[in-house]
């Protein structure tokens, strides 16, 4: 079992997630990409837990999954709210942050 290999995999997963965040226009697409990033992090935690024999690391992987669930709930609520309010689901058409 190669730690380096799995690390590479998780990095790739992370980078792909970032790419998705940067390019996806659809809000749900953004959510999906963020899930990728979270999974990359969780994978790292579990990997280190195995490699160094830490219990906490697994616990934190668990927390990540829990937070991902929360994030999905809130994110989807926002998407639905947006759809109702701004009649768009494309993040780059939403510029409420603009000064």
């Amino acid at each position: 079992m190669s730690v380096r290999l799995i690390l590479l995999l998780s990095h790739a997963l992370f980078a792909l997630g970032v790419y998705g965040v940067l390019t996806r226009r659809h809000a749900i697409g953004l959510l999906l990409s963020i899930e990728l990033i979270l999974n990359a992090a969780a994978l790292n935690f579990v990997l280190f837990s195995r490699a160094f024999g830490h219990v906490e690391a697994q616990a934190f992987a668990l927390f990540i999954i829990a937070l991902a669930a929360c994030e999905a709930v809130v994110g989807l609520a926002i998407v639905i709210g947006l759809a109702r309010h701004a009649h768009t689901v494309f993040a780059d058409q939403v510029d409420l942050l603009k000064g």
Binding site: V18, V21, L22, T23, R25, A91, D92, V94, D95, L96, L97, K98, G99
Partner: protein, 632 residues
């Protein structure tokens, strides 16, 4: 004895605090009496100190101020002969002037505030005189300047008064900056700022250093005592109420510079004394000629003050501090009197232009009488006060100065008599002017009478008849014993010549010059009447460039330094200008250029702040990568 020392400045200060906080709740005359009472009490405390001081004692108190351990920064008050004399002048003249103001300022809407400022003015002057430490002296020095500012622009609704106050403060502050530099240098080089240690510094510091420091200190005195070239504020200060002018000219503000030089005379080297002498003499003569041409009562008096201060500086330049202080004392009496008299005239007639005044002798006999006493005293006529002090200076000039100095001072004496009698004669003699005029109330006449007594008799304290107690008090040991008859004759001759000039030229309008010299005379007269155009030169050479520099730097700040952010805007303006050229729309290209500059700058900023999440995120990711690369 120590407590009495502290009470002297603290009593007027307390009066100030009382008047500024609850002055408006006091009935108007009460506010005035509070100030008078405080000043009179200070005068009493001064008198109480007379006995030990006359015995040659030096009383002092001292307390830690800027540092608990370092004795350099321990402030103190001290009184010796020199400062005691000043205390007497300030409290005495100050009390009289405050008394007079009770009548003069009646009905003014800011009556209590006037007396508050007056009390503070005297308090700071007393502090200045008592200070035993350069820092405390400087602090009071600045406070004196502040009070002059507040009082000169007391009637601030008049723009001229507001401007005059500011001019006084800023002009003297230029001198103060020199004084401050001198103090800094002294603190660094000498390691002490206490006055009783000054004589010791003469041995420890090098000659060049002493010259530099003393000249810087002298710069402070030049500003405060209105010497050339920083004299311009004093004539303008006439915009203030007349009692204020009296106070400034006699007891408080301008006396401070003379006192400072007298106090720090141990630091002055022969070279710097030469400078003092030159400045003093120049001021004496130049201001005298200007005084001859002024037609406003108060401005004549203002230039006469400058001229007399020049005379005192000349005495200081001769190293005769005691004589300068003697003249300062007598001058305080007769100049205060002259101003109060002038104020009385203005109070009665609401007119201060000489051309519209005349023949007031009948309507205002008391004022005319005291004015005459002051004028005679100022002219140096035997045996009034002015004679003794001026004669002593002439004598010193003859002994210690270059041969031409006596001649120059006698010429100054001729001018002095000429302008003061021109003033007197045109005000009180001749055909009565349309302004009826009436005698002032008792509260104003009484202080004038007291001062007239002083103007006549104070000089006796320095006369050989009483064996010079005043000069002994000031530490002068070698004194010419009797009256020097040649000098007496010379000065009487000068007074007579001045009187003749005043009568023939000032009143009868005779033309003393032969026709050939008349154009030159006219030109000289024009110059003098325009105060040698000093104000205009300052406007052109200093104030104008200063304001231009301020505006230029402000533009620089806005354009160049801020250009980092608005660089896009500048580029946009250039583009716009080019475009305008092509379109030949020359007329409004600046307007358009500015508009597009703003628009482009805005667009530039808006591009950065798109509000779109993706671009923000991209920036974040790139930043993370860059930072982590850099940190490796």
């Amino acid at each position: 004895m120590t407590p009495a020392l502290l009470w002297i400045p603290l009593l007027p200060l307390a009066a100030f605090a009382l008047l500024i906080t609850c002055g408006r709740r006091l009935a108007p005359p009460v506010a005035g009496w509070v100030a008078v009472a405080a000043l009179a009490a200070s005068a009493g405390a001064t008198l109480a100190l007379a006995e030990p001081v006359l015995r040659g004692q030096r009383l002092a108190v001292r307390w830690a101020w800027l540092s608990a351990g370092d004795p350099r920064w321990a402030l103190g008050l001290a009184v010796d002969g020199l400062s005691w004399l000043m205390l007497a002048v300030v409290t005495g003249v100050g009390t009289m002037i405050a008394c007079y103001s009770i009548g003069y300022m009646r009905g003014d809407p800011r009556y209590p505030r006037f007396f508050a400022y007056l009390a503070l003015f005297c308090a700071s002057m007393l502090g200045l005189v008592l200070a035993d430490h350069f820092l405390l002296l400087y602090a009071c020095w600045e406070l004196v300047g502040l009070c002059s500012y507040l009082l000169i622009s007391f009637w601030f609704e008049k723009p001229a008064a507001a401007a005059a106050g500011r001019k006084a403060f800023i002009t003297t502050r230029i001198g103060d900056a020199g004084l401050l530099a001198g103090i800094l240098w002294l603190a660094w080089a000498g390691g002490t700022l206490q006055f009783d240690a000054l004589a010791g510094l003469r041995e420890t510091l090098s000659h060049g250093l002493l010259t530099a420091i003393s000249l810087l200190i002298f710069l402070g005195a030049v500003g405060k005592s209105a010497q050339v070239p920083l004299h311009v504020w004093l004539p303008d200060a006439m915009e203030g109420p007349t009692p204020v002018s009296a106070l400034i000219h006699a007891a408080t503000m301008v006396a401070a510079g003379i006192y400072l030089v007298a106090r720090t005379l141990p630091l002055f080297t022969p070279e710097s004394l030469q400078v003092v002498l030159a400045v003093g003499l120049l001021t004496h003569l130049a201001a005298g000629t200007v005084a001859l041409t002024m037609t406003d009562i108060k401005r004549v008096l203002a230039y006469s003050t400058i001229s007399q201060l020049g005379l005192m500086m000349t005495a200081l330049g001769l190293g005769a501090a005691a004589l300068a202080m003697f003249h300062l004392t007598t001058h305080a009496c007769f100049k205060a009197l002259l101003f109060l008299g002038a104020g009385s005239v203005i109070h009665a007639t609401h007119e201060q232009e000489l051309g519209r005044l005349g023949g007031l002798r009948r309507a205002m006999p008391w004022t005319a009488a005291v004015f005459l006493i002051a004028a005679v005293s100022m002219s140096g006529v035997f045996p009034l006060s002015g004679f003794w002090s001026k004669d002593a200076i002439l004598l010193a000039a003859q002994h210690d100065g270059p041969p031409w100095l006596l001649g120059a001072l006698l010429a100054g004496a001729v001018m002095t008599t000429a302008y003061v009698f021109r003033l007197y004669l045109r005000c009180f003699h001749g055909a009565p002017a349309p302004h009826a005029g009436h005698e002032s109330p008792l509260i104003m006449v009484l202080p004038m009478a007291v001062l007239a007594l002083g103007a006549a008799a104070v000089g006796l304290a320095g006369s050989p008849w009483l064996a010079h107690p005043l000069l002994h008090l000031l530490g002068l040991t070698q004194i010419h014993a009797g009256i020097d008859v040649p000098i007496l004759l010379w000065s009487t001759l000068a007074a007579a010549a001045g009187l003749w000039l005043a009568w023939s030229v000032g009143v009868r309008r005779a033309r003393p010059l032969p026709a050939a010299l008349r154009p030159l005379g006219t030109r000289l007269y024009t110059w003098a009447a325009n105060k040698y155009y000093v104000d205009e030169w300052y406007q052109r050479l200093i104030i104008g460039p200063y304001l231009a520099a301020a505006r230029g730097l402000s533009r620089f700040d806005l354009r160049v330094i801020d250009g980092a952010v608005d660089g896009a805007g500048l580029a946009g303006r250039a583009l716009a200008v080019w475009k305008e050229r092509f379109d030949r729309l020359v007329v409004d290209r600046l307007v358009n250029g500015t508009a597009s500059a703003v628009r482009l700058a805005g667009a530039g900023l808006r591009w950065v702040q798109t509000g779109i999440v993706h671009q923000y995120l991209l920036v974040v990711v790139v930043a993370v990568v860059v930072v982590s690369l850099v940190l490796k």
